[in-house]
């Protein structure tokens, strides 16, 4: 189920895995692993930013540029994970691998933004970061 979901998510943009003989390695291992890690790490960083740094600790990292910093940090992680997954499973690297990493970066940006919108209202200092919408106060 999760396998199908994540392989569908990535293959929607990337098409069939190349080289084809590693299709099942991508579908059964790399795609679900990467997808799950993307999800969990992005959620973790968003919670770290809004609830730890800008609520529990009040570090003053509430500006949009700080938020962007964490967005980029997350994107870098999202770029590294697919490549490490591919090489860690003895799969031959191919331009497909880097396209896959790139797509994962795009997904990480979207996901980070979505999590921010959903969770920022619980923050004390950063509830308007990166912008006020949709919160009203």
């Amino acid at each position: 189920m999760i396998q199908k979901f994540f392989s569908g998510l990535y293959e929607l943009v990337l098409g069939r895995p190349i080289p084809a003989n590693f299709t099942n390695d991508y579908r059964e291992v790399v795609f679900p692993n990467t997808g799950l890690m993307l999800f969990i790490i992005t959620l973790g960083i968003v919670i770290l930013y809004y609830y730890v740094l800008n609520r529990a600790m009040s570090t003053g990292l509430y500006k949009t540029q700080h938020w962007v910093m964490f967005l980029i940090l997350n994107a870098i992680i999202a770029f590294i994970i697919p490549i490490s997954q591919v090489s860690g499973n003895d799969i031959e690297t191919h331009s497909y691998t880097y396209m896959f990493a790139f797509v994962n970066v795009i997904y990480s940006l979207i996901l980070f933004f979505v999590f921010s919108i959903l969770l920022k209202r619980g923050s004390v200092q950063a509830w308007t970061t990166p912008m006020k919408w949709p919160n009203k106060r």
Binding site: R16, A20, N21, F22, T23, N24, D25, E28, V29
Partner: protein, 459 residues
């Protein structure tokens, strides 16, 4: 009133509750009951599949790693026609090929480590043209081979001799090694036997087929000195030859694995002319090689199961521009040597399929670099298959080696063996004799082996 109603309400609630819970419970118990069945059912269906696979997995090594010792019966035909292979010894005279090879053979049988119990027989005929098998010691047979045949045996009733030898070996659970020139010498009054030679051979060897025995025929030729008795008596009744090459044959009859022990370990240096009948390999280890660098596939193909080893099920999807090409590794090391030769395989290997139209691109044998690769070392041969299109969503692709009659048989056969000097290395009606042998195994599988890969259309 109100109280009553509330009580009745509570009752109804309770009733509903019990009904609901009992229902729930029933449902649960129902689930529990069906669950074990559901888990059992696949287990049961898996079991036959597993047991179906297990024997193949266990027979695989059994087929290749044959029994370590076999019982052997050696039958040497000593009709007058054989005398020329064993000219009278004299100092400075070289032994004939026949003498050399036979000497090695019987000494290997006598002293070799692969032979458990052994017996030596001289095959003759009595006055009524009935076969006689004389049990002799190793030394007696050796002296026959070294210093010549002293007996006067007129003919060789070939089918009867084969039958007698075979029956004796079956009774003693031994592999027969029959050495003869295989020139059929029936009673002069009954020359009609030549007409029915094929069916006579078949009848005589019937027991071999019933017992599931296989036959290996090895043909060699040796210089011949002395009186030659052709089957065709015109124009010459007999000829005196001085070193012309005359064929002789070694037939090995027994269980397939035991025959292979004899051919590979006892006889060893086999002549180029070999023929095998009744040989079949039920499970040749094979795998689609999809990730090995040496045999990189092309096109859209991947193993259906990620870590399957061996991979016998693939998903593939050939495109117009990009046909699928992949390599199947085969372990043919259990086959007779002549069948392992790359030329033979190139000529005879076939690929057939349901649901696709494959063709063979190349056949290669393992070279040193492949033997050094652990994952590939278990395969001896590699067949590259091209699949340009699928005709169904699923099916099979099989690499097969059909049972073929070796070409040398035709070349070594003749309809007139009267003058071997003009046409050396030919045996009268050899094709007919072989036809008789082949007829035995007519109903067996058409293939020596069949390595099948399942496929599904890739999604």
């Amino acid at each position: 009133m109100l109280l009553k109603r509330s009580v009745s309400n509570i009752q109804i609630l309770l009733l509903c509750g019990t009904l609901l819970f009992s229902g729930c419970f029933k449902k649960q118990s129902g689930n529990e009951e069906t669950d074990p069945e559901a888990t059992k059912a696949p287990a049961q269906t898996e079991k036959p599949a597993a047991t179906g696979k297990a024997p193949t997995a266990t027979t695989t090594p059994a087929e290749t790693a044959a029994p370590s010792k076999v019982n052997v019966n050696v039958y040497l035909e000593i009709s007058n026609g054989m005398k020329g292979f064993i000219p009278p010894p004299a100092a400075g005279k070289e032994a004939t090929t026949f003498q050399n090879n036979l000497n090695k053979l019987i000494s290997e049988v006598e002293d070799g480590r692969y032979v458990a119990s052994k017996a030596f027989y001289l095959a003759k005929e009595d006055a009524q043209s009935r076969p006689v098998l004389d049990s002799v010691s190793y030394n007696t047979m050796k002296s026959y081979i070294v210093s010549g045949i002293k007996d006067d045996v007129r003919g060789t009733p070939l089918p009867a001799m084969l039958k007698a030898a075979l029956q004796k070996s079956i009774d003693q659970e031994a592999v027969s090694i029959i050495i003869s020139d295989f020139i059929h010498g029936p009673d002069p009054r009954d020359q009609g036997q030549f007409i029915s030679l094929d069916s006579d051979i078949r009848s005589s060897l019937r027991e071999a087929e019933h017992q599931g025995l296989a036959i290996a025929i090895l043909a060699n030729s040796s210089p011949f000195y002395g009186t030659y008795h052709p089957a065709v008596k015109k124009p010459e009744l007999r000829r005196t030859l001085n070193g012309e090459e005359i064929p002789y044959y070694i037939w090995v009859i027994g269980k397939q694995e035991e025959v292979q022990v004899v051919t590979n370990k006892v006889l060893r240096n086999l002549p180029a002319q070999q023929a095998y009948f009744g040989f079949e390999y039920k499970s040749i280890p094979h795998s689609a090689l999809l990730k090995e660098k040496q045999f990189y596939p092309s096109g859209n193909i991947y193993c259906s199961s990620r870590n399957a080893d061996p991979c016998t099920s693939v998903n593939l999807q050939p495109e117009k521009k990009e046909p699928v090409e992949f390599t199947i590794g085969l372990d043919l090391s259990g086959l007779p040597m002549s069948m392992q030769s790359i030329d033979y395989l190139k000529k005879n290997l076939k690929v057939s399929s349901t649901g696709s139209r494959p063709s063979i691109v190349s056949v290669t044998a393992a070279d040193e670099s492949i033997k050094a690769t652990p994952d590939l070392a278990k395969y001896s041969h590699f067949v590259r298959v091209r699949v340009p299109e699928l005709t169904a969503n699923y099916g099979t692709i099989s690499v097969q080696l059909p049972q073929v009659t070796p070409t040398w048989i035709k070349a070594w056969s003749t309809d007139n063996d009267n003058n071997p000097a003009a046409a050396p290395k030919k045996t009268y009606q050899l094709t007919k004799i072989i036809d008789g042998v082949q007829a035995l195994y007519r109903d067996q599988s058409d293939f020596i082996f069949n390595a099948t890969i399942q496929f599904n259309k890739a999604d």
